[in-house]
């Protein structure tokens, strides 16, 4: 266990080393024809091995996670965690709870018994022991930046199973993509003629290849992404957050000479800044309220999570004295024994509002990064970057970082914020899905699909489905990167992104076609109901189940369920539309078809690997039963994530104070009737989508063109991406432009006039003054003084020159004069 931070730290640093090496020697290596991707690939592969090792270590020390129907979740080995939230939090406990802590340290089973008693007394359905103690994690600081005396800023880590799962996922996918990119980017090894850039003389741009630069950025990105995941405090998150942002900027603008690419890079960067602005506000609110950046407890200092959800209060959200409060009594006193009140928070106090602000602020950052409504427009444009970038940065990892952050900050979010998250996710999900239906650019379909799926995750998280959202994040990462890489393979073969020019490619490139089919099935959530399925089957099921569970509890938000279900149908439709358009039917452009070829092995082998995982990553492997508790053990992403569930969220995120919303426990969605219904809904909708796509594009029974004509207004609306770009153009660009034009005009007309006028006047005055005062008076004085000085100096010179007697005489004279002056002045002054 002690090695865990070191191992993961090394996994973070390996790509950085690769980056530094390539930065320093990349150009030289290019000249020497040494492929730089060996370094980058080696580094990320090393990171993967280390991450995997870390996971094995974690599992070996914590045991395989147990699955409980209605009982406590994994508390194996928490004695080993000095930094565990409860032990530090216990410092503040009253005596009675300190006793509880002692017991807890001694024996797990006793602890459970104790908490069970608590529940009975409390009367609230806290049937999860994890409600009473937080997840296991390791957190500490590597290095403290701030000098003592001010709130601590440090570089630290916070490792729980979420961290580890993310590590394995990121490094694995990144490794695959590094291999793939080695093939995909091979053109960049030599001088490149960029056919999309026409110079003023009509020729195409010819430039040196940037193979090394690509991998340099990729390595930097991997470092940043891993740093973001391991970050132990908010500040570090923000730093790495910006770092992935800047990497994304570099990579989108990789073909910097193409105007579209550089514009897209700018757009991505700027829109992310909009989100980050909100995030900064959120961070500032947290910082000002809690005076700490750390997530978990470090060195006995309570972190954010235990401050917001203190152990004394059964990890329920609490607003304490430390928060800015306007009126309202402190809740500190009552929180000790009154655990029945799940919302021991004081709604009237300003601090609760501050928490909402903080949550919304942080979510704002996530909106930017995860391309959620209303900042979703940058992601489709970001497809200007090379396809491996799209696969890694803009589908699997960076954009998912927003979802990850929502998951990480889960304890901070109040029910109000969660509801907003859910609605934003729902809107995004639906909107992006509709656009994906009509897009023809293969990568853009996938981009909109990504936005839509990210919306799914947000929706799930917002509805209280912590596991569901993050589970979908993991599965989605695998099948979406697979899909992107397949599309890259197609683009590589066809040299075009437009699906109408493709068709029938199945025969030319079978590996790509069938791995992509696997990806489509996975994203559509295909599977045999109640038996087995692709990874997407499980995660989508979980989301829909959560939607059912949530909307059952809150009938007024029923719409969210329909969005989730409808989204599933649309997803299936547009994915199979894509597949059929690309791979089946007859070639629509013979020229393209003739030149198409299967990609090299280095590209399709990663596809196969990813395809296997896209199928299997959702599976949970039964791992026997626990001898003590009789619980099942399971090895799988969900079971692992369950052990990282933030303290106090197992029985739902509580009840909204300002909105009418109640969060049921996520476990409630596992109930039999909900589960069955969810599976049926998911399967039915996906099937419907698939069938429609099959009929329209596979069998071509229904003409797509006719349909488009039939629904021309809607088609146009979708086709133009809901006119968001235009809207923003009118809303922001035009007014800004207008204002800046006005300002420029004002500047030129008014200010310049004033300045020039003043200058003229000043000049006039100074001319006059010059003549009278300066030339006459000042110059006269100065010249007089100067003349005096000169004459004195000359006098000195006269004395000096050559006449040594006078020369020495002056020493004596000086001494005497000084003596007289000083003796009198000092002694008189000193009063003697």
């Amino acid at each position: 266990m002690d090695y865990l931070p070191t191992i993961l730290g090394a996994a973070v640093l390996l790509p950085l080393i690769s980056f530094v090496v390539i930065v320093l020697f990349g150009a030289a290596m290019r000249k020497a024809h040494v492929p730089t991707h060996y370094i980058a690939t080696g580094a990320i592969l090393g990171s993967f091995v280390l991450s995997f090792t870390a996971m094995c270590i974690w599992l070996s020390t914590h045991g395989i996670p147990e699955v409980h129907e209605h009982d406590a979740h994994g508390h194996g080995g928490h004695e080993e965690h000095a930094a565990g939230s409860h032990s530090a939090g216990a410092d503040h406990l009253g005596e009675s709870l300190a006793e509880g802590k002692l017991v807890e340290k001694g024996q797990d089973s006793q602890f459970i018994a104790l908490t069970d008693d608590d529940h009975k007394e409390g009367g609230v359905g806290k049937d999860h022991a994890s409600a009473a103690h937080g997840p296991d994690y390791v957190a500490d600081d590597w290095y403290t930046i701030s000098p003592p005396g001010i709130p601590k800023m440090s570089i630290g880590y916070h490792i729980d199973t979420l961290t580890i799962v993310m590590f394995v996922m990121v490094t694995f996918i990144a490794s695959c993509i590094h291999f793939y990119a080695g093939g995909y980017m091979h053109e960049e090894l030599h001088d490149v003629t960029d056919h999309e850039v026409t110079l003023s003389d009509g020729k195409h741009l010819r430039r040196p290849g940037r193979f090394h630069r690509f991998f340099q950025y990729l390595s930097l990105f991997c470092f940043s992404m891993l740093g973001l995941v391991i970050a132990g405090n908010v500040l570090m998150v923000f730093v790495f957050w910006e770092l992935v942002g800047v990497c994304s900027y570099f990579l989108i603008g990789f073909y910097i000479e193409r105007k579209s690419a550089s514009t897209a890079a700018n757009k991505a960067f700027i829109m992310n800044r909009v989100g980050d602005f909100g995030m900064l506000i959120g961070l500032a609110a947290l910082w000002a309220s809690f005076g700490t950046f750390s997530f978990g407890d470090v060195d006995g200092q309570p972190g954010l999570f235990s401050l917001i959800r203190p152990a004394e209060n059964q990890h329920q959200m609490t607003t304490k004295d430390g928060l800015v409060q306007v009126g309202g009594a402190s809740t500190e006193g009552e929180s000790g024994d009154d655990t029945t009140d799940a919302n021991a928070s004081n709604p009237a106090s300003f601090s609760y509002g501050l928490l909402i602000v903080a949550g919304l602020g942080i979510f704002c950052g996530c909106v930017g990064k995860s391309a959620q409504f209303p900042l979703q427009t940058w992601l489709p444009d970001a497809m200007e970057g090379p396809t491996p970038v799209s696969a890694l940065v803009h589908s699997a990892t960076m954009v998912a970082a927003g979802v990850y952050l929502v998951g990480r900050f889960y304890p901070v979010f109040t029910p109000e914020v969660l509801l907003i998250i859910a609605y934003v996710g729902g809107i995004t999900l639906f909107m992006a899905a509709t656009i994906a239906i009509v897009a023809t650019d293969i990568k853009r379909v996938l981009a909109f699909s990504t936005v839509s799926q990210l919306g799914y995750m947000m929706l799930a998280l917002g509805m209280g489905g912590w596991i569901a959202g993050l589970f979908h994040l993991i599965t989605h990462a695998f099948f979406k990167s697979l899909l992107f890489m397949c599309s890259g393979s197609v683009i590589h073969a066809c040299h075009t992104n437009e699906m109408p020019q493709m068709g029938g490619l199945r025969k030319k490139m079978p590996w790509t076609a069938y791995t992509m089919l696997v990806g489509c099935l996975a994203i559509a959530g295909a599977g045999i109901p109640f038996l087995i399925g692709f990874s997407g089957y499980y995660s989508k099921d979980a989301i829909i189940a959560q939607a059912i569970s949530f909307t059952d509890a809150n009938p007024s938000h029923k719409i969210l369920f329909f969005v989730a279900a409808g989204g599933a149908a649309i997803t299936a439709f547009y994915m199979f539309r894509l597949w059929f358009l690309t791979f089946s039917g007859k070639p629509r452009d013979q020229h393209v078809y003739d030149h198409a070829h299967e990609s090299p092995k280095v590209m399709y082998v990663p596809l196969v690997v990813l395809a296997v995982l896209a199928v299997a990553v959702g599976w949970s492997i039964p791992w026997g039963t626990d001898a003590d508790s009789g619980n099942h053990k399971e090895l799988g992403v969900t079971a692992l994530l369950e052990t990282a569930r933030p303290a106090g969220t197992a029985d739902g995120a509580g009840t909204g104070v300002n909105f009418d919303v109640t969060y049921p426990a996520e476990a409630a969605s596992h109930a039999e009737e909900i589960h069955v219904m969810a599976t049926l809904v998911a399967f039915g909708t996906a099937m419907a989508g698939f069938l429609l796509a099959f009929v329209m594009y596979g069998l071509q029974r229904i003409s797509a063109e006719d349909a488009a004509k039939q629904f021309a207004p809607v088609y146009g609306f979708f086709r133009n991406k809901w006119y968001f770009d235009e809207l923003y153009h009118i809303l922001f660009f035009k007014p800004t432009h207008f204002v800046s034009k006005l300002v420029a005009k004002f500047d030129r007309r008014a200010i310049d006039w004033v300045v020039n006028g003043t200058a003229k006047v000043a000049r006039k005055v100074s001319d006059t003054g010059d003549a009278i005062i300066d030339k006459g008076l000042v110059d006269g004085l100065v010249n007089l003084t100067a003349g005096w000085i000169y004459s004195v100096a000359n006098w000195f010179r006269n004395v000096q020159t050559g006449k040594l007697r006078q020369y020495v005489l002056f020493i004596v004279l000086g001494t005497v004069v000084l003596f007289v002056l000083i003796e009198y002045s000092s002694f008189l002054n000193a009063g003697h």
């Binding site: 000085i789 050559g802 040594l804 002056f810 000086g814 000084l818 000092s826 002694f827 000193a830 003697h832």
Partner: protein, 651 residues
């Protein structure tokens, strides 16, 4: 103490002192080596190389000695020198300068093949003198070091053979220097006569005694004159007005290299010496004892009690008790010039432990007296024949008594003594402050009309001497308030000197390099430099701006520290004078920048081409300019170091 014991003690002391004398020994060795090489090997071994190696060794030794002497202030060579962190700071400074100087002269080629050995011998000899200046603890040492630093520099000033101006400069320099030295020596003799000692820490104690006895004693007038005369010598070294006459002529006549040497190293040593002398006069060391005036006796020890190793085991000292020990000038008394006569009161005082051992009791002063070049006259050696047992018992009793007196009492005595020195400090402050003010003002105003860059810089160095003296004038009176404060102020000076090294030396280096190309040292010959050699012009501009004291350059930081010292001490007049002077200085420095950057060279005028990256010269300039920028932004570490350097001055 028998003769043999004295000899033994002296040998011990010398051995111990030599260990502290590494850098100076390195310089001595280098000088000898230079001369020998010249004699034996001839031209085959480059003198430059020898000088470089020697100075580097010296620098390493000096750096090493920083940690070696950390935390202690020790007197060496029977109290002639004091080796404390201040000494070592300036030693490091001087030797670092020496290394840079050798590199610089190697590149600028001013000592030709034939001259090199002479040139470096002289320069290093002068540097040796400067090293002694900063360590001087004794007025005779002050004078000797002063001369040792001066005499070679007279020759250096005339090193450009066959140039009339150069020879003239050397002659003026020598004559003027001789005059100043004479006055200084006169002052020293006056002080020695009145205070009865020339050991600097003892002077303070003696003065305190005199002041306490009769604050308006007429003797003080003599002392004032003596002090002023010593100041004249220092003012000559500092080229302070009105003892600056030599400076413009010498700087113009001598090579720019020599100008750099004189303006940086010589000035730094002189200002350090000024600090030493001023503290010697205006402060009573902690370890010194001060006896009430009625006793009419001055009994003191210095804190360099390491010297007590000389004081041999007390068993041999026949008499332990000296009711009064009158200290007289060793020279006048017995001609035992550098002999150190120790009397010890009790045997517990031997060894190296400093603080606890030096003390004396009320009227039976067990004294642990030491002072270089002093003879202790034993006025009342009573009970000279005691049995060993009795001696031991007596010693024990004395020791107990002395301990009983305690440190607190000594502190109190020191405070009282220092309080009575207030007028002395005021006097010093007035003297130095007055000189500083006129120096600064005159320097800056005279620089106004210069067309020769060396002459301009000569006046600039005069003005900067004024700024440095401001710091001293600010520090000395604050001794009365708090020694920490005073040390703080002196550290401002230390920072100033270090910054000044980079600013001024580099400016002279640039002048020399440009002279080598165009043969001209007129400001007008720099016209158009920004186009032909932008890097150099930028560096030079930075240096000049730093000399003005514009932020964010090092000169600003240094000036800020000095001025804040003035403000702290409440010397508002000096502060205003300094600030006004800074404004005045703006014009003539900027004139050079204007010439470089705005003026168009005349037809046919040769403009120097000096790439900053291409050769060693350029890199040299660049690397020396860099600290001016870096120290302007991050002067914290230097300041810390300077504070550490000054931490032992007033203890």
């Amino acid at each position: 103490m028998g003769f043999h014991e004295q000899i033994d003690a002296l040998i011990d002391d010398t051995q111990r002192s030599l260990a502290l004398f590494g850098p100076e020994l390195a310089l001595c060795g280098t000088i000898i080596l230079l001369l020998l090489c010249r004699l034996v090997i001839g031209d085959r071994l480059s003198s430059t190389l020898v000088a470089f190696a020697g100075t580097v060794v010296g620098l390493v030794a000096a750096l090493f000695s920083w940690s070696q002497v950390a935390g202690t202030s020790q007197e060496a060579f029977t109290g002639m020198l004091v080796i404390d962190s201040f000494t070592i700071y300036f030693r490091i400074f001087l030797l670092a300068f020496a290394v840079l100087f050798v590199v610089f002269t190697w590149r600028s080629g001013i000592p030709d093949r034939e001259d090199a050995a002479d040139f470096y011998t002289l320069a290093l000899g002068s540097l040796l003198g400067m090293c002694l200046m900063v360590a001087a603890n004794h007025l005779l040492m002050v004078f000797m070091a002063f001369e040792m630093a001066s005499v070679p520099s007279y020759v250096l000033a005339g090193i450009l053979k066959g140039r009339r101006k150069s020879s003239e400069a050397a002659l003026k320099f020598a004559v003027y220097g001789a005059g100043a030295a004479g006055i200084m020596l006169y002052g020293i003799s006056l002080i020695a006569g009145v205070t009865g000692t020339v050991h600097l820490p003892s002077i303070g104690a003696s003065l305190a005694n005199t002041m306490a006895a009769d604050p308006s004693s007429s003797v003080l007038w003599v002392l004032g004159l003596g002090g002023l005369m010593v100041m004249v010598g220092l003012a000559f070294k500092l080229s302070a007005v009105p003892f600056h006459f030599w400076a413009p002529d010498v700087f113009e006549g001598a090579a720019a290299e020599v100008g750099g040497f004189l303006s940086v190293a010589s000035k730094a040593a002189a200002i350090a010496l000024l600090v030493r002398v001023a503290i010697g006069f205006g402060f009573v060391q902690e370890a010194s004892a001060w006896v009430d005036a009625e006793d009419q006796s001055v009994v003191q020890t210095t804190n360099g009690v390491d010297q007590t190793s000389i004081a041999s085991a007390s068993g041999e000292t026949t008499s332990q008790i000296f009711i009064a020990a009158r200290i007289q000038d060793g020279n006048s008394a017995s001609g035992q010039n550098s002999q150190d006569v120790q009397t010890t009161g009790a045997d517990h005082q031997q060894g190296t432990d400093q603080q606890d051992t030096d003390q004396q009791s009320g009227d039976q002063q067990g004294t642990d007296q030491q002072g270089a070049d002093q003879q202790t006259e034993l006025t009342q050696p009573d009970e000279s024949q005691l049995s060993p047992e009795q001696q031991a018992a007596e010693a024990e009793r004395l020791a107990e008594e002395a301990r009983a007196l305690g440190i607190a009492q000594r502190r109190e005595a020191q405070e009282v003594a220092n309080e009575s020195l207030g007028p002395v400090r005021t006097y010093i402050s007035y003297l130095v402050g007055f000189l500083a003010a006129i120096t600064c003002t005159f320097g800056n105003m005279a620089a106004y009309g210069q067309s020769n860059i060396k002459r301009l810089l000569a006046y600039s160095t005069i003005a900067h001497a004024g700024y440095m003296m401001f710091a001293v004038a600010g520090a000395i009176p604050s001794i009365g308030t708090s020694t920490t404060l005073a040390q703080d102020h002196i550290s401002a000076l230390a920072v100033y000197v270090a910054v000044y090294l980079f600013m001024n030396f580099t400016a002279f280096a640039i002048i020399a390099f440009l002279r080598n190309q165009t043969g001209s040292e007129e400001i007008s010959s720099y016209a158009g430099l920004i186009r032909t050699s932008p890097g150099l012009a930028v560096c030079f501009s930075l240096l000049l701006m730093s000399l003005i004291g514009l932020p964010p350059l090092a000169g600003f930081a240094a000036k800020l520290l000095v001025f804040s010292a003035l403000a702290d001490s409440g010397l508002w007049v000096l502060l205003i004078v300094g600030a006004l002077n800074t404004v005045i200085s703006l014009f003539y420095y900027l004139r050079v920048i204007k010439a470089m950057c705005l003026d168009v060279p005349e037809e046919g005028q040769q403009v120097a081409v000096f790439p900053i990256w291409k050769n060693i010269d350029g890199w040299f300039i660049f690397l020396l300019t860099l600290p001016v920028v870096v120290l302007g932004l991050f002067w914290g570490p230097l300041r810390e170091w300077a504070l550490a350097a000054c931490s032992q001055l007033l203890s």
